[in-house]
């Protein structure tokens, strides 16, 4: 068993390292690997190559790593907390809320485009808060079914709002499409400078939730017997997932696939649902997947940079299906 897990981690780490290398070296302009290394070490000459590596590709790669990791972890947390294999950040309304917030800025206040990440974050968290409030009040509050249903309802609300905005500002809809499809943008460190604290808090919180989620896996009653409060853990996991997903949307738009599939792939590959394994390795796997997908999205039809969302599907689904066959 343990050997299998070690192998999975090794594969994930290797994929991540190779992905990062590719992300820094490949793109519309060919930058030789030597120059990439020089630039990273601060030894490169001034010029477009150095700018491309350090100001365009490096921030984008870091974005991809953090967003991929955050979404992988968010999915793992939610699947553990809700006990439902279909759980993902979309389920708690964060994706729809973030979409609304970002589209609001893009379409209604395009001059304030610097506020795009803030809009996505604020509305993503608002949507999640609404979902939790609706799911919590009344009898049987805090149960998984309530949470999922509330998520579907609030998500529909914000999705309607987004559609309304797109109808009201039809000439600007084009600028919104890239965000909705989910994609990273080469725009330097600006985004991450604003948003990194949310990633840090979310990831730190996730580490603390690992053991409680293992207890929750055995059922609410057993968890209670062991001194955990199931509803509190569910709320905490949902909150951490919401934070990570909203922060991710603020940087990379609506990437729906990673949070759902990566934890499953990790569980199937590693043969275990232990959160001490699944949560950190989902971070590695999500990061590797997004870095690889983004590199592909940028190099498939240069100089066009396609949205990375569809590439997640192209890379991830065959992997998922193959593992599914083996598991069954």
């Amino acid at each position: 068993m343990s050997g299998r897990r070690v192998l999975v981690v090794a594969v994930a780490v290797t994929a991540l390292v190779l992905g990062v290398g590719a992300s820094l070296a490949l793109g519309t302009i060919d930058v030789p690997l030597g120059t990439v290394v020089d630039a990273l070490l601060g030894k490169a000459e001034e010029g477009p190559d150095k700018q491309i590596v350090l100001q365009l590709r490096l921030p984008r790669t870091v974005d991809a790593i953090l967003v991929g990791a955050a979404l992988g972890v968010a999915g793992a947390l939610l699947q553990g907390a809700l006990g439902n294999p279909l759980a993902s950040p979309d389920v708690i309304g964060v994706t729809a809320g973030s979409g609304f917030g970002a589209i609001l800025i893009l379409l209604a206040f395009p001059g304030s485009i610097a506020l795009l990440p803030v809009g996505a974050l604020v509305f993503g968290l608002t949507a999640a808060t609404l979902v939790f409030v609706v799911a919590w009040i009344g009898p049987d509050g805090g149960g998984s079914a309530r949470l999922i249903l509330a998520g579907i309802g609030i998500a529909a609300l914000f999705a309607a709002g987004t559609t309304g905005l797109m109808t009201a500002y039809p000439d600007r809809v084009q600028s919104a499409i890239f965000f909705l499809a989910g994609g990273l943008v080469s725009d330097g460190w600006d985004g991450m400078k604003q948003i990194w604290p949310y990633f840090a808090v979310g990831l730190a919180f996730s580490v603390c939730l690992i053991r409680p989620l293992d207890r929750l896996a055995l059922g609410d009653d057993v968890a209670a017997s062991l001194g955990t409060r199931p509803r509190l853990i569910r709320l905490g996991a949902g909150g951490a997932a919401a934070l990570l997903a909203a922060a991710s949307a603020a940087i990379a738009g609506l990437l729906a696939f990673i949070g759902l599939v990566v934890p499953h792939v990790i569980r199937m590959a590693g043969g275990t649902a232990s959160h001490g394994f699944v949560v950190p390795v989902s971070a590695l796997g999500g990061a590797a997947l997004l870095v690889a997908g983004d590199t592909l999205a940028r190099t498939v039809k240069p100089p066009l940079e396609l949205p990375v969302g569809p590439f997640m599907v192209v890379i991830g689904v065959p992997m998922f299906l193959w593992l599914l066959r083996k598991a069954v």
């Binding site: 053991r211 059922g219 017997s225 275990t272 649902a273 232990s274």
Partner: protein, 265 residues
Amino acid sequence: MLEATDVRVTIGGTPILHGADITVEQGELVAVVGPNGAGKSTLARAAAGIQKLTGGDVRWDGQDVRKLRGRALARLRAFVPQRPRVPAGVTVRDAVRIGRSAHIGPLQRPTAADRAATERAIERAGVERFADRMLTTLSGGELQRVQIAVGLAQEAPVLMADEPTSHLDLGATVSVARLLRRLADDGLGVFLVVHDLALAAAVADRVVVMSEGRTVASGPAESVLDSARLAEVWDVDASVEAGSQGQTALRVSWLGDQDMTRGSS
């Protein structure tokens, strides 16, 4: 160890328990019996501190359950629910290790003592044979023994089991019954909610009968489970008999008065 007095519980506006009393000491197996809706599970959960009390008093080793924090309570009692979740990707050993968490601090790693306690729990519950298998590959009886092992890993003086045998076949039921009796003999306090009256009579040191949210009787099986009680609480014509070699039997008049049900014949 456990002293519950005049326990009252209201759930969603409906009063379920109207004053129930029960005590469990270490080394004794107390069986709680009663018809559906009598409030057996609710009493178990209230006593375990999992269900909020509306009134009454529950004390563990003299301490009020409402004042005991999760971990401290987890070291006093282990609760095994009726149909626990069976998550995928978890082995028996993984699950029993999780049962140990009351003894492991949030940032600590499991120590050698914890690992030894996990193995002890696995042994006591008799699940060593399949300790490395996934929970999802186990049969009902094996699963129930694993759940008990998880509870044993808590190393609490009292084990509370809510109808652990209701969904098991005869062989599995016997296996669990023997395990529980052996645990009680080894000094564990066992609070067992059970449907099967013959089983209760066989394994329990004391039987508590519940009806309509109250505890109506408490004592040894022979005196508590007499025909009058069965008729009064379950509205059946039945009796519990103890045979030789620890066998018990429940004799029930299943079809009632033959002449009346058959009509004219």
